[in-house]
Symmetry: none
Subunit: 192 residues, 2 copies
DNA sequence: GGTTAAGTTAGTACTAGGTCTTAATACTAG
DNA sequence: CTAGTATTAAGACCTAGTACTAACTTAACC
């Protein structure tokens, strides 16, 4: 509860609260500020904040926009171009969270994760499993560099897919990997 | 419009349609299949598909909980035993955040990340860089399983280290990888 | 043919979380 | 005292549903 604020103060805090938790409904907000629901609605009107259902819908749309067969947050990097079972491109902006502390070099597993994610995402199968991977890290990647990974499906035999991924920074190859991916549909249905 | 399907066929296509576009409301679905809204609702009931607002809310929540993924922590897994330049063990408890949505199978790059982290951590050098990695994922890992990775340094030659990592769940091998790691001290001091 | 069951449609009552409008208060400054 | 701002309240309406009951259609079986 945040009582006895002026209108301006309340509206400021309101914006913050909604930013922090966009799932709050008007009734809950009214309780937080100890005002009536109507007041909250007037505030939202003045601040141009849509109702909770539109807020969450927008959030969901943002998250959903690009990807189909796999949900957005499961992918490392942004998928920018996909032809299912054929090829795809993913872009990953590197940041401080990805580096070794002492250097400014991006840790290998982030580069691997982008490539692996991409290899799995371009396949038109429900449950893809990485079977093996041969990878080469050709030169260190530094913070801030933009990783562009390009995957191509080389070969499909039954439930086995061979996918090759090349990752570049400004045309320069920094990583390459060959992934053998399985369609794990049977396995997943066994439920372990 | 997809007309004249049997109930089973319709329900199958319905699931697919909603997976492809979770924002479809019952009325739109009814138009797609040329059946009444009630039929769509019975289908959803049987298939356990929630209403559009719950679907989008869930999507939004997923997206909002954010990609914890593998960034943030320097080391993936807990180091429990280390002999520098010789061997080390790391334990990683798998959880819901690490799996593919549709299955309960841990995504490959988490297993890789643990192994890679360990391979780098056991070396007594300031800046370790993964040069290449050959990896095999021997069987799927399910949520909740505890990954125990064991690394041994096989060979040191100048600034090149060969590290082998085996990851097990209850003694059973689930992953193995050979990492070629470089001491990147010179590179890192160049500052790029 | 008659009966049973499955599948489909229709209709009603009710819900949450709103919108939009009008109207009544309370408080405060000039 | 009054004008203006802030707040609250009341009511009609909306969307996208749930839950339930009832009727109708169709094919399958004996």
């Amino acid at each position: 509860m945040v009582k006895n604020l002026s209108k301006k103060e309340r509206q400021k805090v309101l914006q913050k609260k909604i930013r922090e938790n966009p799932f709050l409904i008007d009734r809950e907000l009214a309780e937080i500020f100890d005002v009536s629901i109507q007041t909250i609605r007037l505030d939202r009107l003045e601040l141009n904040i849509p109702e909770v259902r539109k807020r969450t819908k927008n959030l969901a749309k943002q998250a959903y926009s690009k990807v189909k067969s796999i949900s957005g947050c499961e992918i490392i990097g942004k998928l920018v171009d996909i032809e299912l079972n054929n090829s795809g491109i993913s872009i990953l902006e590197t940041n401080e969270d990805m580096v070794l502390e002492k250097t400014k070099i991006v840790r290998g597993h982030h580069i691997f994760a982008q490539a692996n994610s991409l290899a799995v995402a371009i396949l038109d199968i429900d449950a893809a499993l990485t079977g093996s991977a041969k990878t080469k890290f050709k030169r260190p990647v530094y913070v801030g560099e933009r990783l562009i990974a390009e995957a191509t499906v080389n070969n499909i035999r039954g439930d086995k897919f061979r996918v090759k991924v090349k990752t570049r920074v400004n045309q320069e190859e920094v990583f390459s990997g060959k992934f053998l991916v399985f369609s794990g549909e049977k396995l997943s249905k066994e439920g372990h």
